[in-house]
């Protein structure tokens, strides 16, 4: 497998007050692959994901050191425009949070933020991305209905489409199927496998089987430390570290 780095994380350290949440992480995230961050809960998976789009910034008392390079540009540089960083990363959170507006406006929200006003272009964008997450046929007759009227699974696909509509390079998924029923989870997983043709995808998951199904590349975090990383087949079949082996076997969690 040929891996070209898309995001290069260098000596990343994150502190919440005195708590050292991420310890000296250095790793490359490959382009147009699905990278799964696995590890027990509370070990910094979500923090790592949130560092990538700088949502960690909004936590009170957080301190971030190190570099995260995207196309050679350090996105942790305080001089950089944080909205531009976030625009490059579509985020899918644990539970779907549709914005308090219609289905149409949810998708159009991002493009409108970035200055698009042309009604026809917006219509095209809404249709295109709803199709991309295969939601179009289910909602095309009620685009003006409140997004909260959709089922959870539909809402999660809507949120995915909303993220895609700002044309990100990277999709970040924070346990994106954990609130969904098996059918809807399958739906989202299938979308991810399609989307990796065009996007770099990073997901946090605590479901090992999901990581096995989806991931090309795996990072195993344990209490803020990056224990092991590598191609998924390698890490799952032939883990180098004892800790990884035990986690995969299920003896530590």
């Amino acid at each position: 497998m040929e891996l070209r780095p898309h995001v290069s994380i260098r000596n990343l350290n994150v502190f919440y007050g005195n708590e050292h949440a991420l310890k000296n992480i250095t790793v490359d995230i490959p382009q147009k692959k699905i990278t799964a961050i696995i590890g027990p809960s509370g070990c910094g998976k979500t923090t790592l994901l949130r560092s990538l789009n700088r949502l960690v910034d909004s936590v009170d008392g957080v301190k971030v050191f190190g570099q995260i390079l995207v196309h050679g540009q350090d996105i942790l540089d305080p001089k950089i425009e944080v909205t531009e960083v976030r625009k490059k990363m579509g985020l899918l959170s644990q539970k779907p949070y549709p914005l308090p507006m219609s289905i149409y406006d949810n998708i159009a929200f991002g493009p409108r933020l970035h200055g698009l006003r042309d009604k026809k272009r917006l219509d095209e964008i809404v249709e295109r991305y709803l199709r991309e997450v295969s939601l179009w046929d289910e909602v095309k007759d009620r685009l003006q209905a409140p997004a909260s009227k959709l089922s959870l699974g539909q809402q999660q696909r809507l949120c995915l489409a909303r993220g895609l509509a700002v044309e990100p390079e990277i999709i970040l998924g924070d346990e994106p199927t954990s609130a969904l029923d098996p059918k809807s989870s399958q739906h989202i997983e299938a979308r991810f496998l399609e989307l990796k043709e065009k996007y770099t995808i990073v997901i946090v998951t605590h479901i090992l089987r999901q990581a096995r199904r989806l991931a090309d590349y795996v990072l195993f975090l344990y209490f803020g430390e990056l224990i092991e990383h590598g191609e998924a087949s390698e890490v799952f079949e032939n883990p180098k570290e004892a800790m990884t082996r035990e986690y995969i076997k299920g003896t530590i969690s």
């Binding site: 789009n53 949502l55 909004s58 009170d60 008392g61 909205t83 531009e84 976030r86 625009k87 990363m89 579509g90 985020l91 959170s93 644990q94 539970k95 949070y97 914005l99 308090p100 507006m101 929200f109 991002g110 933020l113 970035h114 409140p146 997004a147 909260s148 009227k149 949120c159 909303r162 993220g163 700002v166 970040l172």
Partner: protein, 333 residues
Amino acid sequence: MDTSSSSLSQSQLSQPLPSDQTAALHGQPQPALIRLLQGSRLIKDKLAAASMLFLTIGSSLMIFLIALQLYQRSRPILAMKGLAELLFSTSWRPLRGEFGFFPFIMGTLWVTAVAVIIAVPLCLLTAIYLSEYAPRMVREWARPLVDLLAGIPSVVYGLWGILVIVPLIKNYIAPAFGTFSTGYSVLAAGMVLAIMIFPVIIHVSVEVFGSIPYEMREAALSLGATGWQTVKYVVLRKAMPGIIAAVVLGLSRAFGETMAVLMVAGNVARVPSSLLGPAYPLPALIANSYGEMLSVPLYDSALLLASLILLAIVLLFNILSRLILIRVERNIQ
């Protein structure tokens, strides 16, 4: 009722008791005692439910009882004069038997409107800052201090109005507009009232903002929205029903506030003609006159009618806001 409760206790008895109770009763089962204990628990439960129901009914009926009483006592004047004349006549000459409430109604509306217009934007910005921008330290200090404003007695606000706001209007604001004002004015009353309703509106708004899941903001932020865009398009939208409720709470307080307003409004029984002119709101009229001029025929009845009108205005606004709320909630989900 009785049969169902006894069958309930029977079925509870047939279930195994928790271990400590079984241990205590070991060797000598006493179903009668247990039934008694069970029975008294159930009786207490029923008693509690019944008394709470009674209190609930009592407090929700209170509004009707008060309205009824006010209506009863204002019937003499309603029998003498037409309602339209009472509501819309501007002539208030109790000694001649002329009771036009229009100046007072307008006084109440003007003063309240000014207070709300001043308070709402300031309160919203404060609440947005406290909930969305402020570091935790600032929030923890500022919120209780704002809440403390609610504890200041009304008469203190009135005095403060006389000492600060009235001279401010007389010496600076009125001259700046090239007019003369004694300072005792609609504006003075509105400003004092605005400050009095600050804590209500700020407190409720902050609570409402706090109830919006953080992830919703993150959703907007992760699409590249700035903090302000997130507030404007997501937080405020989602919070709108709650904000309306907050404003209505403030409004209700403003309508009824008596002492502070009475001290700075000027109390001239004329329809207010400018912000810098005096007003005479209904609560001030009632508080100023009740018990003093009751020898004048119909005066007592007129004042109770004034109370009834005040109550009606407050109720009307509450109902209106309820309707708006339902509409808004339907539109924003």
